[in-house]
Symmetry: C2
Subunit: 398 residues, 2 copies
Amino acid sequence: MESLFSHMVNSMHAEDVKILMKQSSGKNVISFAGGMPNNDLFPVQQIDEIYGTLPLDLKKLSFQYGPTSGYPPLVRSIEKYLRKKGLPVDENKTLVTTGSLQAISIITQEFVNKGDVILTENPCFVGALTVFETYGADIQGIPIDEHGIKIDALKKKIRSLDKTPKFLYVTPNYHNPAGIIYTPERKKELIETLSGTGIILLEDDAYNDLYFKVEEKYLTKPMISYTSKDVEIIYTGSFSKILGPGFRLGYMLASPYIYEKAENIKQALDACTSNLTQILANEFMEQGKLEPYLEFLRKEYSGRKELIQNSLKKYMPEEITWNEPKGGFYVWLDLPERMNSTDIFKESLKKGVVFVTGRTFDPKSTKDDCLRLSFSNMPKEDIEKGVEILSDAIRKKM
Amino acid sequence: MESLFSHMVNSMHAEDVKILMKQSSGKNVISFAGGMPNNDLFPVQQIDEIYGTLPLDLKKLSFQYGPTSGYPPLVRSIEKYLRKKGLPVDENKTLVTTGSLQAISIITQEFVNKGDVILTENPCFVGALTVFETYGADIQGIPIDEHGIKIDALKKKIRSLDKTPKFLYVTPNYHNPAGIIYTPERKKELIETLSGTGIILLEDDAYNDLYFKVEEKYLTKPMISYTSKDVEIIYTGSFSKILGPGFRLGYMLASPYIYEKAENIKQALDACTSNLTQILANEFMEQGKLEPYLEFLRKEYSGRKELIQNSLKKYMPEEITWNEPKGGFYVWLDLPERMNSTDIFKESLKKGVVFVTGRTFDPKSTKDDCLRLSFSNMPKEDIEKGVEILSDAIRKKM
């Protein structure tokens, strides 16, 4: 496995990894698979500056245990940053987690017993699906359209169930894998639909800062900051897209009663998150290095988005459709129903192009007439060539 | 809580923390409570050197996701280090974890369903007790003596139980909190006792490197490296005592079938451990910085052990007995049965001295005629004064 970039296979379907390993050494592959920044995009220089000027006391502290709830200055920095976005920080409590996946894992452990129903979007972030499966949840997927989760389908699903789902997990902003952003109307409708049902809303907002146009930033307003709601909302965020996944830093914002048990669970998972990564992240925020870095990232990803859109328009067969994302990392290709992306994967891999197959994101692992292209991770100059090869593979399988 | 050093309260009983918070600001307290290195003992200069000369490619990689199993060069370094100690690395598989507590948590999640019996030593490492409680284990404690777990009591307990315990959790080398090390005979007897019972042995060896005399190093030989055994042994180790707890790095060594499910559980807990901390730890080992640092630590802790022993001899009332550890961080005080350490805690806190009460380490949270003194964390010059105050407090409560 080491000959492959591990991050290439992290979000891939297990069966597809087997195909990849059989057919390829992983070298010289053009990968649309990885849902993470390219190594060249990380703020290495900024962290160098921070480390180089870190006072000795803080350096020493970075080797030490910290509180389970998080390094207190980082908790304050996160709260300041969320308050600025309009989030209800004071009514809730903030828990620093070892990546936002740990927050999802904690919430699942807090609420889900084997056989309990939870709702997700379909398609759904595969990392979350892995967590839900590990803890034995009965996962019920709800289809989405270009504006968000389908409200009618959600209502119908809730009515059809014998027991109340423990929560609904959504990634409304720059959806992984579908690349959409919920409209404000859809967010409102979703909150109204859940009101009074007792179903918790688990709002995963890992891509919040990555809008392409500042005039569309208002679309990213998280549901937890909507007023007049009668829904318990747990909000999770991540440093993986705005600093680096290798720091394993995320957080959750939840009401005190949910927080309290969550902190106990975290205590039993890893006692606390690394002080070293927390101290560096806090300096990154406190020294005003985050905002300029986000400006850089937005330009970079927006440029990459243009490139992939132009290439798709140039090469894709007419029957294939896709979204134009307003932010984030992903383009989602809709194939004609008769096609399946696993066949295309095998075909395109022969020419050295990989992506993530549609079924990977389906809770039932079946719906496969779609696929995810990530434009965040590959070298920019490979995008056009990769799309051309993929288009040829699709044409061959039509 | 922030006014207290968080690491002071990390391993304390919840009730004792309440007492502490009521009676003291946490400032100017002499603490025998914290089971971790003093901030002044961390290898700050060595990590500075490593960071300062880290090639750009590795720096970039430190921001990125890594494989769930661990950063491959670190896995190799750990395996080399364990092989040198005689551990059966090749028959087993190594999983890097976010602190060794995560390894304990993973194993508990893998084997324990609510109500399942597990066995521990009594007293037992409180962090592990928290994990076992969180996952609903029925914890059965077995007393220990100065040579290790009491074999007769263990046999009796196993016979008395309706169902087979899932595992026995032990910390045989420089026990936390009791400070003892198992004799080789006791280790052998333990393995023989478990042979054929189906009870897994979970061997926590966080203090292995911290012997005081090189001629006693042979005593640290882990049970997983004993030959002719018919017991499944899972071995866990930690970087918390040999680099720094703030790095959140540990590992487990287990047979492939246990490893496989453990890796899946880790995937659902935090996807992977921080690449940044793993890369730094790997360089620390690969560049030959670990061994000289261990030499330094052994001298330091051995000197501290002398100091606390001399102070105890000088000040303690005659009725009080304690061990002289051969390594590690802890002295365990036995009080006359009529006394309890919680009363002493309240008394000594008035004069600004804290420690961890006996009941903290009892699975049933009752046995309190004992207490733990850690000599690893406090400033060296406070040891004598601290022991004097504690002795006065004990005398008052006699």
